[in-house]
Amino acid sequence: MSEITPSQTVGPFFAYGLAPHSRCDWKPSDVYDWKETAGANLVTSDASGTKIRIEGQVLDGDGMPINDAMLEVWQADAQGRYAHPRDRRTRPNTKFMGFGRSATDKNGAFSFDTIKPGPVPGPNGKLQAPHIVFCIFSRGMLRQIYTRLYFADEAANESDPILTLVPSDRRGTLIAHKELRGDLRVYRFNIRVQGESETVFFDI
């Protein structure tokens, strides 16, 4: 057995390498042609399902916006399948990867355009309600923190095997609420890193 390399903070200056075309303002001028390996738009033209947008803000223990966070999201496709060899079910042949990355802007705000995921297998043969895994990095975080976004309009939340492990008075921090903006389905999901209404983070 070998012991793992410890985590260190992403720091304040990751944007030009990891999220150069994100909404954050890291460099006021100049054209920068560093292609993103992953961005805030997960939608591929061949992916079936309902297009949605996730919008939110990342806030610190004083309720102040965290303007230099990096968020990564990981999710299944509309059929509830992960684009990964460990998910051995047959996948439709699409380019949908299910991974996105975004920095926050000066207001601590972020957004992702994606496809609403389907239910995915959970422990003991039960299905999990549709959800998106969030991983948050920032200056002042020496290691990443993980949370999950669930959708308010899913009845399956009631019996979700992970959500039901969360104390009921804190479950609401994981629920994104839908706003209709013209044809666009927007789910609002704020992440409060610390404090009274702190988002639930997972020990995984």
Partner: protein
């Protein structure tokens, strides 16, 4: 191969709240993290193909018209799992300050010059043996506002994916013998001396190229090892 990701492997990680590093005070969770089992959502993660990056992305000295100033170096190593098996085909991304200790970022106000021939971002997909290799310049130390006369030791930021979202690692690679180590709260947020040393690269004379560049080796070990029958009982 069925990998498991016991939490015990994370024991050397820094605590979320490490008050010597001031920014952690308002940016660390204050309520207990909720313990949940690993499901398919955690045991999977993004997979990148070799077409995700260009071969030239791994040479940070060739991204502009001229060569950057500073000490040219090679940084290479293997990405491994806890069983010391290679982690092939995984994305490794780096970013760093230039030789003067200045980042290409408008928030960095350190009065040191930017280098028009250096951006400081690189990336590569590991090969079948989990091997990666970058060419860059040695980053300079730089001051930061954490406390009076605070300076960061020379470091290169690393971001690595691995086999699942649980093996995801963002860390910093340091250089051997740095005199700033005792004074840096970020480096010392890892409280175990042996664990701290796992973030320090080794000078690699064997792979140093005569008349051209010094070489440093930095092996990265990610969370994840082969399931044993005992692990299987737990899940």
């Amino acid at each position: 191969m069925t990998l498991v990701f016991p939490k015990g492997s994370l024991s050397a990680f820094p605590k979320h709240l490490t008050p010597d590093y001031r920014s952690t005070v308002k940016r660390s969770p204050s309520k207990p993290l909720v313990v949940v089992p690993h499901t398919l959502s955690e045991l999977t993660g993004p997979v990148y193909g070799h077409d995700a990056v260009q071969e030239s992305d791994a040479d940070l000295t060739k991204q502009h018209n001229g060569e950057p100033l500073g000490e040219r170096i090679i940084v290479h190593g293997h990405v491994l799992d806890e069983d010391k098996r290679p982690v092939p085909d995984t994305l490794v991304e780096i970013w760093q300050a230039n030789a003067c200790g200045r980042y290409v970022h408008n928030v960095d106000q350190h009065p040191a010059p930017l280098d028009p021939n250096f951006t400081g971002a690189g990336r590569i997909i590991t090969d079948k043996k989990g091997y990666y290799r970058f060419i860059t310049v040695k980053p300079g130390a730089y001051p930061w506002g954490n406390h009076h006369n605070a300076w960061r030791p020379n470091h290169i930021h690393f971001s690595v994916f691995g086999h699942s979202f649980l093996s995801r690692l963002v860390t910093q690679m340091y250089f051997p013998g740095d005199y700033l180590f005792p004074f840096d709260p970020i480096f010392n947020s890892v409280t175990d001396e042996k664990a701290r040393q796992r973030m320090v690269s080794k000078f690699d004379l064997e792979n140093t190229i005569p008349d051209w560049a010094l070489c440093f080796r930095f092996d990265i070990v990610l969370r994840g090892h082969e399931a044993t029958p005992r692990d299987a009982d737990k899940h």
